[in-house]
Amino acid sequence: MITEHRGLRELNGSLVILEGVQHPLNEELVHLKLDDGTERTGRIVAIEGDKVALQVFEGTRGLSMVNTRTVLTGRPMEIPLSPELLGRVFDGLGRPIDGLGDIYPEEMGNVNGQPMNPVSRVYPRDIIKTGISSIDCLTTLIRGQKLPIFSGSGMKHNELAVQIVRQASIADSDDFAIVFAAMGVKNDVADYFRQSFEAAGVMDRVVMFLNVSNDPIIERIITPRCALTAAEYLAFKLNKHILVILTDMTSYCEALREFSSSKGEIPGRKGFPGYLYSDLATIYERAGIINTAKGSVTQIPILTMPNDDITHPIPDLTGYITEGQIVLDRGLDTTGVYPPVNVLSSLSRLMKDGIGEGFTRKDHSALANQLFALYAKVQDAKALASVIGEDELSASDKRIMAFGKAFDEEFLGQGNANRSIEETLDLGWKLLRMIPRNELDRVDDAILDEFYEQ
């Protein structure tokens, strides 16, 4: 049922209140037609009797009480889906902006999606080789995982994401595609990604949804949902392996906060709405593999931690939902180590089932544990050295310090090299040989005999 209303009752931030609406549906899509001929899009967010509250994605600038006609579409927010999505560029609401015309839809997809049934999920086990030692060895990325990059302003998270796309060996197969969603990033950053995809020769397998920093803010709330709807279609209808890059989730959360405060909701921590966790979950949980399709959705959301604070609500709540995190470190970044991965606070929850014999190599798990344990000791030794001076350290602490230095320079600081799993693991053993065998307490003797004694 399509109905039209003239005039508005109230305007408040991005919210519009209408009165006397016949048969509105919750979360229904609406079009606002201005007298000057332009059109905006909105969504019903609350209903009370015949009054409805609309969220206007493009903002309410220029709207007045009388110059607007509102059309209710009777449908939820949907985007057109077809195999033609690949290679196309859309705005934050899923409308083409590359001048190649509309998508002829094979089906329409509700951007909100539906929760995956846990019994229909397939537990992810296949490793995605990224060629980056710190990730492959210590925070292994698994197909179907959601593994965010926690970064800070000015650090090299974009480079890292591009390197993962370029080197991920799944990129060789035909059934691989990338869905890229930009939320509030600068135009340069969006361009950097586009150029990098072109340089890697994968642009015809990329779908881009761009809401850059000068685009309407409220639109950002829809952008990741459009991207994931496209990703789910490609993965579960067309059986492709999809890597979704969402950047920057911090801008997304800030848009949500702005919208929430304009609705007059009770704020939780740092002014973010109390439902931030549930809302983020409806995005992140759309990664995975299901038992009725061959494809998969892997997510790499990027977020910049405000003031590099990992306890800020955005990284904090993200970490509780995602299956691990890759944390970048300001100290490593300034000393020129790239990729500047802080391995101690990084984690991949799905790693344990995707590595070892039959997946990577049987020593992988023990080696990773030992490297973590030693690197934790490096931090203790460093703290001690800063008090009593490096010269005063005991012999074993000095060894640990030397190990830490070599680890940062050789293992982490690989630059743009693309290392195989074997190279990475062998390098790990090479570093472990700096430490006497009896101090390696996380590896059992059989593995030590085979890999340490070479």
Binding site: N26, G49, N117, P118, G274, Y277, A281, E285, D316
Partner: protein, 586 residues
Amino acid sequence: MQQENKIYSINGPVVTIQGKTDLSMLEMVYVGAQKLVGEVISLDTQKTTIQVYEETAGLAPDEPVEGTGSQLCALLGPGILTNIFDGIERPLPALQEQSGAFIGKGLSVSSLDTEKLWDVSICVKAGDSLTGGEVYASTQETPVVTHKIMLSPLLSGTIVEVKPDGAYHVNDTVAVLEDKTGKRHNLTLCQRWPIRIPRPVKKRLPASRPLITGQRVIDTLFPVAKGGAAAIPGGFGTGKTMTQHQLAKWCDADIIVYVGCGERGNEMTQALQEFSELIDPRTGKSLMERTVLIANTSNMPVAAREASIYTGITLAEYYRDMGYHTAIMADSTSRWAEALREISGRLEEMPADEGFPAYLPSRLSEFYERAGYMQVLSHAEGSVTIIGAVSPQGSDFSEPVTQNTKRFTRCFWALDKALAYARHYPAINWTNSYSEYLGELEQWYHDEVGADFMRCREELSSILYEESSLMEIVKLIGADVLPDDQKLTIEIARVIRVGFLQQNAFHPDDTYVPPEKQLKMMRVILHLYHKCQQIVQLQVPIARLLETGLFDKLTKIKYDVPNSNLALLDDYITEIDNVLGSYLRK
């Protein structure tokens, strides 16, 4: 006259009806044309407020709201075990059949399989008088669990008719009961119980037996009693879920209820797979045969998340009433508290701490008080143990959910980020954690494990305590300046940390360690400590003792001694005596 109730307003999962209605508080209702499941949460003369357990997109005002006349209930009967449900007890495999890999709306399925035939043997005869909670029939629900079919606690009377033993569906009548007023009730294999009301028991008994988990840091240092309540707080990545999974796999409860409340979908898939594949060492059957999973993942509707905790505890109490020891793992109660906060916000209630509603502490205490070691209505003894994970925001234990949980649980396993970073799992911090059950459980450990258990435990924990204060000094000036006896403490504490507290969940022997082995390991470590203390007093440098390799050898006992051959541990004592004997004789 049936009054027509119509939706007036919609705000997220909260729907209101204008004016007075005939609905009652906490009544379950069907909302809208799609018949979404909801529950009445507030009533006044102006409006009735309903929280909806499904996604409300597409709902419109003026759609009907239908009352069911009863509260939100769990259906209790055979077929619960081995199954996986959502927060309002809808079986997920059945939902998958109806709507595919993604969960649709307004699906209607029975909680229990109504087609399946159960071999029932009936243990009452006509003329028997029966009171609430007493057993009238039983069936083998899974190869390891006999399901006792009990009279609803609200009924009592005389059996007037009994069917013969045989195969029945859950809804078939197997007996007829006549109550005092002469009203006849058909007794089937199942009953309903409102999830927010604790099931009645005869009386509460003292909790004097531990829940043996096979995890050394828990069983030895911070044990929880059967019928107790424990909290596991920890920031993300500290291993809450991993610890919960380990407990669900290995603890010696008869029935496990695992509630994934607002957590990851993949974790539930993993639990389902792993529990099905793992063999229970006690029964020789799959662990899933004694387990029920409740999965309300973080992206499923928030109101059903709030209900999932109650559904879980109701199932646990039902099996307790059969005389079983049940344990419920709730992962995570913080998500449940957040669901409360979210709904409270939509109701525009006055917020208290950090936006949480003022009734958060009372809801938490209501939940944790449903744990207990009970004499149930059928005179048997059973228990419900609650293990709740808490996910504090920003890993800050002073936030309201952690603080309030601390008040209502007597066992606190604080997970530590620094330990997790060093991949020391389980990352239970031994200085911040505590168990108040030690006093009650002392007798049991004395009788069942060994008279010296508590003494060893105390010595172990005092060494760890001493180490943590020594480490303060070491951090400032290095370990070299310490006198040898203090160096010994640090070395032995390292053996305890690495060789005893740290436990490898992926190692076939180390994943579960019986209390006997835990005690013997403690004895070996302390034996080494005592011997070395004597030697150090004779002015032998600690470096010489480390060269013997005994310290390193002891850190690997957990891998080197299989659980099936504990006698090997006595050899370690002999070896220590042999190697160190020469120093003592000099």
